[in-house]
């Protein structure tokens, strides 16, 4: 057991503020690396041109003048809280929201949250969507994911039949990504959640998009499936920006956990080629 530790929510607010700004303007290193590798392997001239434009975009953006994408996303936060953490100086969720609101204002980021029915824009990009996990210890880990609407819309949960099995999962993911085609801004990172229940599968799928790109699953069976799905998606020919080529997805990441004997939940969450996420441990 660790000692009870006080963590001021003011520090959390500041951390979220910095992560959001960093995510909007600076591509994660692992994604850039994966894109460079894809560039070397590409045979399509158009695909190479598209990737060159993506690299140019990354450079222009990091010079701090323009965000990587105009859709700077909703703020999705994966928060792992050690059970021996005691938050002080206010309510943690308010602090996270304050950090997001300030970052989107100060950073000239687009405010994309709206009323689902009237579509009126709230003008503050709130609320942030927070997934909290209680873990051992007395640290707080924050992952900030700036999730754009284009790739998010090309996501789904499907309750498969247990008899669909491995083959059914592979087929569903491949068909879905081929149908999504150019919409989610390929090359994508495809997050897949298998098992758990309806909503757990979705959370796993999104969390899977945040793994270091291309690092295979620790489970050899899943690693094998990831590779099979990736090859099939990339054999579609859709290519970067959907303009043809060998790189439709950069990686497929699967997370899995046990499910009910009567179910086989499957979730697919698509991340686009900017896949903006940054993390910190406090």
């Amino acid at each position: 057991m660790s000692e009870i530790r006080n963590v001021s929510v003011k520090d959390i607010e500041e951390a979220i503020y910095k992560l959001a700004l960093d995510a909007a303007y600076h591509i994660p290193e692992d994604i850039l690396e994966a894109e460079k590798k894809a560039y070397e392997n590409e045979k399509s001239e158009t695909a190479k041109k598209v990737l060159e434009t993506i690299f140019e975009n990354i450079q222009v953006s990091s010079e701090e003048e323009f965000p990587l994408c105009q859709d700077t996303g909703l703020g999705i936060i994966f928060m792992e809280v050690g059970q021996d953490v005691h938050f002080t100086d206010g309510y943690i969720i308010d602090a996270i929201n304050n950090g997001v609101e300030r970052a989107y204002k100060d950073g000239y980021l687009r405010k994309s949250s709206c009323h689902p029915l009237t579509r009126a824009n709230y003008g503050n990009n709130l609320p942030a969507i927070v997934h909290t996990f209680v873990v051992p210890g007395n640290k707080v880990k924050l992952i900030f994911d700036a999730k754009g609407g284009g790739s998010e819309s090309m996501s789904k949960v499907q309750m498969l039949k247990p008899a669909d099995g491995r083959a059914g999962i592979v087929q569903t993911v491949v068909d879905w990504m081929i149908q999504a085609g150019p919409n989610p801004c390929p090359p994508t990172i495809v997050g897949v959640g298998i098992g758990g229940d309806f909503e757990r599968a979705a959370v796993m799928a999104k969390h899977a998009t945040l793994r270091h790109v291309g690092q295979p699953s620790d489970d050899p069976e899943l690693a094998d499936m990831e590779q099979e799905i990736l090859t099939k998606i990339n054999n579609s020919g859709i290519g970067p920006a959907g303009l043809g080529g060998l790189t439709t997805a950069l990686a497929v990441h699967i997370e899995m956990q046990p499910c009910h004997i009567a179910t086989l939940p499957l979730a697919i969450n698509t991340a686009c080629h900017v896949n903006r996420h940054k993390e910190i441990e406090l």
Binding site: K43, S44, T46, A47, V50, T53, I54, E56, N57, V60, S61, E65, F66, P67, L68, C69, Q70, D71, T72, Y108, L109, R110, K111, S112, R119, N121, G123, G149, G150, S153, G181, P182, N183, C185, T231, N234, N235, S236, G237, I238, G239, P240, A241, G242, L243, G244, G245, L246, C272, H273, V274
Partner: protein
Amino acid sequence: MAEYKLTTPLSDDDIIKLKAGDKVLLSGVVYTARDAAHMRIVESIKKGEELPFDPKGQVIYYVGPSPARPGKPIGSAGPTTSYRMNPFAPILIELGQKGMIGKGKMSDEVKEACVKYKACYFASIGGAAAVVGKAVKKAEIIAYPELGPEAVRRLEVEDMPLFVCYDAHGNDLYEIAKKEWANKL
């Protein structure tokens, strides 16, 4: 595949020569509109009200830019996913709109309208938004300011890089490209 420099407004002659896969550097005025603005524009058409701009010969860019920094006309401004404008595009094409700029597939109705009324759907690279933002020289909100990023803007662009995606002859670049590169691994 050819490369063209075009300036808006576009004529039937400009459109007819374009083939899916051609590259276009577009200059001149383009108007921005996304979901919410399209809903209002089409509502106004039904009611016979005056529109924020006359669609004849014009190009509509499906974009909701990020806010401009001081001294800049606009922030990042890459395309949004176009299929959400499927219900609206054919109506505006019939009124003389000559082009749409966006990313992703649109419907068969849109393709048919492009052939019937000589219009063109241009694909831009989604997520290359900082680069596109730099091609915008001037920006001005002309309608629905309360929609924030979804307001209608009049942009002046210079050499905005585009690909001809659906041409006026019924071709679809996404389908052509996909076929060409399928099963190559």
